[in-house]
């Protein structure tokens, strides 16, 4: 089954983290992605630029609106994602627990709707 791991983190804290902690985090993510690839679980992943660069579009009844900023103001923001292949939810949860982001933010695990 395919799962989407959504990484939520406090992006202000992330952006203002000391250089050493930031590079440790980058290294941890690189190793995490590699380990996923090596075990055949990795399908896709990316880090997102901050929500200050987000633009939200709505088009109800043909009345378009384009707004600066994310869909919703929240304490933690969507910071990146992984799409993985896992035999079941337990397998997906064990990858989510290994995600470096789980140490300070949260990882939402969502099964992908297969048609």
């Amino acid at each position: 089954m395919q799962y989407l791991l959504l990484i939520y983190a406090n992006e202000k804290a992330m952006l203002s983290a000391p250089k050493e902690a930031a590079s440790q985090m980058m290294g941890a993510y690189a190793a995490y992605t590699e380990a996923m690839k090596n075990s055949g679980a990795w399908l896709a992943s990316n880090r997102l630029r901050p929500t200050s660069e987000a633009t939200t579009v709505r088009n109800p009844n043909g009345r378009k609106s384009v707004l600066n900023g994310p869909f919703a103001e929240t304490k933690e923001q969507l910071a990146g994602f992984y799409v993985i292949e896992a035999p079941d939810l337990d397998g997906a949860l064990s990858w989510a627990a290994r995600c470096p982001g789980a140490a300070h933010g949260s990882i939402e695990v969502r099964p992908v709707w297969t048609v």
């Binding site: 941890a28 337990d90 290994r98």
Partner: protein, 416 residues
């Protein structure tokens, strides 16, 4: 003490005892838990007005038993009548008996939870729920399983106990050793899940290691003649004795070899040693006694200042012969590296590489990385460290592995 605190204290001490007593008669763990929950609710409602009863445990049992009989009568068919009649008969006997203590049948409950007909993966969670009263969400968090999934697994396991007729009894002597292994495995699983957070920063998982020890003490008390039960308790106490030494003042992970023995808990080590001595006098070695003996050999460093690695290799040889476990094989390879050098250790690890389970097993990659680094193969060590870092979920351990990787680069840089 106020009512809520008393109810809490009784719940903590008596929960498993009352579930065991009720479920042993009906084989219905879920119904026993429900009835007991109602009894606790009734206690919180009645005790403030009427005062705390003289024997709170017996009071709870009486109320729970009535709830259980009521529930059974509501949905009863002829076949199900028998356990209810047993309950009613028990009540009559008790009423005649007055203050007779409630028999401790937790051992039977534990054997039911760890019965071979119950899926091995759900035995420890089931024990946590039935004996200690943990809810599915807390158990799910500890075992990294979604709360809803854990809830379903527990419900299914309890239905299996009831419908498959799994007995609530301590097995006969000829099958005791084998069946006891399953109980001890489940208790050890409770303990090791608790170890995911050795610094104790998450109260829920710290408690789980303590609960594992609590269950271990319980079974060692109930079965004082079972050397493996004593061995398991000794093993857990040895590990627990090093809890604080596993973290530096700054919260960094400290590997065993770098730990200061002065920070180990001497009282726990002494207790573990005494248990192991008692167990070994029974002359029936087993997996847990051997693992405890390995920990005992490590603990001896506090007296001698050094570690007797050749004794540890011998213990792992024996363990490997009993268990055939790949985890034991990894530890044995690391011990061999200490006695015969890193190359010899790596040679022991080599045949394990084909085991598909190791692709996601962090300790294998960390052990491999450390041995490769000592053998001077920095490039391969770096790749193995990367793999271990990517597979680790404990932030402190991950940071430690990252420091080891950086150190590797430093060493390589300076030798060029």
């Amino acid at each position: 003490m106020d009512v809520a605190a008393t109810a809490e204290a009784v719940a903590r001490a008596s929960y498993g005892k009352l579930v065991a007593f009720l479920a042993a008669r009906t084989r219905d763990v879920a119904a026993a838990e429900d009835a007991l929950a109602e009894a606790f609710a009734a206690a919180l409602a009645e005790w403030p007005a009427k005062g705390i009863p003289r024997a709170p445990e017996a009071w709870l049992l009486t109320v729970a038993r009535r709830k259980l009989i009521d529930a059974a009568r509501r949905r009863q068919t002829g076949v199900e009548a028998e356990p209810t009649l047993v309950l009613i008969a028990d009540e009559l006997v008790d009423a005649a008996d007055g203050d007779a203590p409630i028999p401790d049948e937790r051992l039977r409950l534990m054997f039911a939870c760890a019965h071979p007909a119950i899926d091995a993966g759900v035995r420890a969670p089931l024990m946590l729920q039935a004996v200690l009263g943990f809810d599915a969400a807390a158990i799910g968090s500890a075992f990294l399983v979604a709360p809803a999934t854990m809830g379903q697994r527990l419900v299914r396991a309890k239905a299996r106990i009831r419908d498959a007729g799994i007995p609530f009894r301590v097995p006969e002597a000829h099958e005791l050793a084998e069946r006891l292994d399953a109980v001890l495995e489940a208790i050890y699983a409770v303990f090791t899940e608790g170890w995911a957070d050795p610094a104790g920063t998450q109260p829920s998982s710290r408690n789980l290691a303590e609960e594992g020890i609590w269950l271990g003490r319980l079974i060692a008390t109930l079965l004082p003649e079972a050397p493996e039960a004593l061995g398991l308790l000794a093993l857990m106490l040895h590990a627990d004795a090093r809890r604080h030494a596993r973290r530096s003042a700054a919260g960094e992970f400290v590997p065993l070899a770098a730990q200061d023995p002065a920070r180990w808990d001497r009282a726990l080590i002494d207790e573990a040693e005494a248990l192991l001595l008692r167990a070994s006098a029974m002359r029936a070695p087993g997996r847990f006694q051997l693992e405890a003996a390995v920990q005992s050999a490590h603990a001896a460093r506090r007296l001698t200042g050094k570690t007797d690695w050749s004794a540890i290799v011998q213990l792992y040889d024996a363990l490997l012969a009993i268990t055939g476990s790949v985890v034991v094989a990894i530890n044995r390879a690391v011990a061999i590296a200490e006695t015969r050098g890193a190359a010899a250790g790596l040679a022991e690890l080599e045949p394990l590489a084909d085991d598909a389970r190791l692709a996601q097993y962090q300790p294998y990659w960390a052990a491999r990385a450390a041995l490769l680094a000592r053998a001077g193969n920095a490039a391969a060590a770096a790749a193995a460290y990367q793999r271990a870092i990517g597979l680790e979920s404990d932030p402190a351990l991950r940071a430690f592995l990252q420091r080891e990787l950086l150190h590797l680069h430093d060493v390589r840089g300076s030798t060029r």
